[in-house]
Amino acid sequence: MAERTAAAGGSASAERFREARHAGSMPAGAEDVGTGRAEAPRHGDVTRLQVRVDPGTGIIRDARFKAFGCSFAIASADLVADRVTGRALASALEVTADEVGAALELPAAKWYCAELAYDALRAAVADYETKRDAQIET
């Protein structure tokens, strides 16, 4: 491999994008998996985020994403997945879009990519909670 120069995209987001570790999917039908999907209609980007939660402890054991979009969208999704892994579901949404945007040094025009990842996370948490609550009721 060639040496990576700063100009070749040595930025925080480009590194995260290239080294993305949380790509993938989990069975959306599984009881312990929450799945969220968010779209940026103006740009056509789509991010899907999934969390697998330990039902006993309420800890997020694993998080996976799939994203269609530029490197910033993919890096944002990967970072969100990384940051929520090991967290309690209850505090997962404390990982904010601003925190992700700042950590990846996103340009202002790409801030929406962090928001997209956050929206997908929020939807995934809500999906898991809905499943869990439905189970408690039955």
Binding site: A2, A20, R37, D45, V46, A67, G69, C70, S71, A109
Partner: protein
Amino acid sequence: MPLLPATGADSIMVTLPIYMDSHATTRLDPRVLDAMLPYLGEHFGNASSRTHPFGWKAAEAVDAARHQVAELIGARSSEIVFTSGATESNNLAIKGVIAAHDARPCHLVTVVTEHHAVLDPCQRVEAEQGCAVTRLGVDSDGLIDPNELTAAITPHTALVSVMAANNEIGVRQPIAAIAEAARARGVPVHTDAAQAVGRVPIDVGALGVDLASVSAHKMHGPKGVGALYVRRSRRAKLVPIIDGGGHEYGLRSGTLNVPGIVGFGKAAALASVEMDATVRQIARLRDRLWEQLRSRLHGVQLNGSRTHRLPHNLNVSFAHVDGQALLTALDDVAVSSGSACASATDEPSYVVQALGATRERARASVRFGLSRETTEAEVDYVADKVARVVMRLRDLSPLADESTDAGCDPAVEEWLTGG
């Protein structure tokens, strides 16, 4: 998992990074640099200094370069006006002709897929000089219909400006037919030939154009120098846009960039001699790249005509892939993309969209620009790496997930055709 696991292809003997972005610029040929160096050193004279050997030496070199550039495009020396590049040449041609056109109303015809260096001067004369502009559309191959052009010409049309070859999709417009149609109506024709001259044979006489823009750095010459060809016979009326000492037949004032012009001349002379051999070699490598990408990936589509195309251009859309993401993953290959994220604007390639393509296909477009320096090993390396990155990005894409039906993939075809 890292985005791109290393495989055997990394061991192919190529020097990284690989440059495959020759529409943006080309490497200065070492022989061009050698020709230029004395004029950055001992021969520093001003070509307008008519009274001493320093000036004579510079003027002599400029004359020789003017002859070399003229020869490359089948013009006479006296028809070459040196400028700072094709952007300035386009501005001089468009603003200069419209400023010289006294009659109102005034009208000009151009094409939606032109470079901004044509579109923006047209927009300015439209806004500031009340010159109506017709922007012709293109078909799915990227070509204009000469009949449509004929129909667009009115008694008030002052200029027709159509590019010889497109900078994104490499599509070559039928300039000879266009010029014939326009000249039959007495309308002068300008062509932005920045991407064509020095890369494919261009003869301004055979094309029948009145004005043609040329750029040195697109043909292994230096940046910041170019020319406007101005036909002498039946010369189009032209007002300069830069006033001053009256250089360049009064059409472009300013002390001449002697080293740049010398380099331009040398690059033109090299192209005159070597083009025939290199054009075939480059086309073969470009076709090899296309075949390899097509055989390894489904959901790839060529943007622009297969046949009316520069031999060194390949522009391809990869379904379900964002071009900017692909470029970022290709950290050791220089190519470019029509993705909005890869440019300063917020809109994916207007050129690819003009073909009738969806915004998705436009954002998925990748432009490969080969050159006479491209090797077979480079093509193989790039094809392999692009194929692997595309597969990986599709793996990452929820869209591919949602639409792929184990192997056969009608959704990809639908996506590409905009259905």
